[in-house]
Amino acid sequence: MPDHASFTGSPAVPTPHEAAESLAQAQLAMQRTRRDVAGSSLWPHSITDGIVWLGGFTATQFLSAGLAMIAWIVVGFGTGAVHHILEQKQDHLVESGWGCKAQRIWISFFAGMLCLDLIINSSHPYVVALVNGALWGIAIMVYAILVDDRAHLVLGGSILLLAVVLHTVIPHWSPLLFGLIGGGGMLLEGLAQMWQVRRQW
């Protein structure tokens, strides 16, 4: 294995063609890295959040408030545990460096959402559910901006818009539709990003 002591003298000067080729290769490598960073950091969460939303919002539509809350907790913890196990098994690790800060942001956001639910305290559980969904869309947008992920920025904005449209147009079926469209959309988007990132491997 060469050590740096064996590097003596001036390096050979590449031709302009070789220099251009090197730069092009380096630029491609950097682009793929940036895509990997954005994709790797969010697709696992999109998949698990999508599953949670599909289950949780469906429960909100058809079950009483108390049972729906239990359903959210069960689906949330169950998916979270699966996500944690999958993360432990991953070899292909790409970290944006936002790790600890991102965790704190999400925890703060989640706590804020619970506080807001207490303030709203609406007799219509679907209002609370839609507000939570809309807030989650905002959180996705903010995080997407931080990690420079356009796909998730569009996803977050779409979720926010969906909450507004459903609440305005079909309020009584909005939780189910929100779960199917929003949660299903997140799940598909996460699977698409996972496929794109793994295809590079």
Partner: protein, 117 residues
């Protein structure tokens, strides 16, 4: 002797080339690509050995050799972390590595610019 504008431009390009030397460790195209991957990460970003290997399509031995050198000369840092039952080696570019990479890019660009004079 009359020195015209194109001669002056050639001299200026040559002067710029001499002032932006190539990095002796990054003239190897593979090592340059590896540094490009690490520099492509955000400032505090890190990437596992497996991720770098998958992204560049290299073998374990070849990548390990180049990463070892980059860590030795101070262009990259390696952090070993245990996650679950596995030990992972996570790599990131150092400040010195980023500076060396940028300087080498400038040198290559000077070569290209000089050829156009």
């Amino acid at each position: 002797m009359v020195i015209n504008e194109s001669d002056e431009a050639t001299v200026a390009a040559a002067r710029e080339l001499l002032l932006t030397p190539l990095d002796q460790f990054l003239t190897d195209a593979t090592r340059f690509r590896i540094m490009a991957v690490l520099v492509g990460l955000p400032e505090q970003g890190r990437m596992s050995f497996t991720a770098v290997r998958d992204l560049l399509g290299m073998t374990d031995g070849n990548l390990g050799m180049h990463l070892h050198l980059l860590v030795e000369v101070g262009y990259a840092d390696v952090i070993k972390e245990r996650r679950g039952r596995r030990m992972h080696s996570l790599y990131q570019a150092t400040y010195q590595g980023r500076a060396a990479f940028n300087a080498h890019v400038a040198a290559l660009e000077a070569i290209i610019a000089g050829s156009r004079q």
